[in-house]
């Protein structure tokens, strides 16, 4: 039963990533693209976790944690660059 649930989860999250990609390519303003990348990072974390459940191993959690940290840091750095013209003042 978990197999079927995992397949459903893969399909749903992959469609979510494709929708984010659409917004990333289409997004009228700059911040739309930043938001799309931020959401895409979160969805990729979900994909990594589902893959970890399927493979029955916990080695992928470090990758998910690194994704979470770098996604957050890059979003904040980009917004700060837009706001102040500099990342580290």
């Amino acid at each position: 039963m978990i197999e079927h649930a995992l397949n459903f989860g893969y399909v749903a999250v992959s469609m979510a990533v494709l929708l984010n990609l659409w917004r990333l390519l289409r997004g009228p303003s700059l911040m739309d693209r930043v938001l799309a990348v931020d959401t895409m990072v979160i969805n990729v974390i979900a994909l990594i976790i589902l893959f970890g459940i399927q493979q029955r191993t916990t080695v992928f959690f470090e990758a998910a944690l690194l994704f979470a940290m770098f996604g957050f840091v890059s979003t904040v750095a980009y917004c700060r660059f837009i706001l102040r013209g500099d990342v580290i003042e």
Partner: protein, 133 residues
């Protein structure tokens, strides 16, 4: 008992996938950025939370190993999603100066601090503020 646990893990995975999909549909369908911000920050975070809870339950109940990484990831995500949303909204306001007229009044002599900065003489001697109702 084992069947019940598998059912619970499956339900959590399916709910997580549905929430992630709803968040991204909101990102595509909603009309402008300040409304689009709600999709990722609420629904997608909840979707990842569902997947993380499923993973934690799976490894604890079925595999028999307790893993704490999921708590770490979910706490990190739940802390950082509002902060990045705040930054995105602020940068959007600064990128589109014409939105400034639409902002509600602060009810004080100073405007919004993201545009006008802190009031004069911040700290000990604050200027007279409008009395609260």
């Amino acid at each position: 008992m084992n069947f019940l646990l598998e059912l619970l893990v499956s339900v959590l995975i399916v709910l997580g996938g549905i929430f992630a999909l709803i968040g991204s549909i909101g990102l595509v369908k909603l009309p402008e950025l300040l409304t689009r911000l709600h999709g990722p920050t609420k629904a997608t975070t909840l979707g990842v939370g569902g997947a993380l809870a499923a993973s934690m339950l799976f490894f604890f109940a079925i595999e028999g190993t307790l893993s704490i990484h999921e708590v770490l990831i979910s706490v990190f995500l739940f802390l950082t999603a509002p902060i990045s949303a705040h930054f995105i909204a602020k940068a959007h306001l600064h990128e589109h100066e014409e939105l400034r007229g639409d902002l509600p009044s602060t009810g004080r002599p100073q405007g919004w601090s993201t545009f006008d900065g802190l009031p004069e003489g911040e700290g000990e001697e604050r200027p007279e503020q409008a009395p609260r109702a």
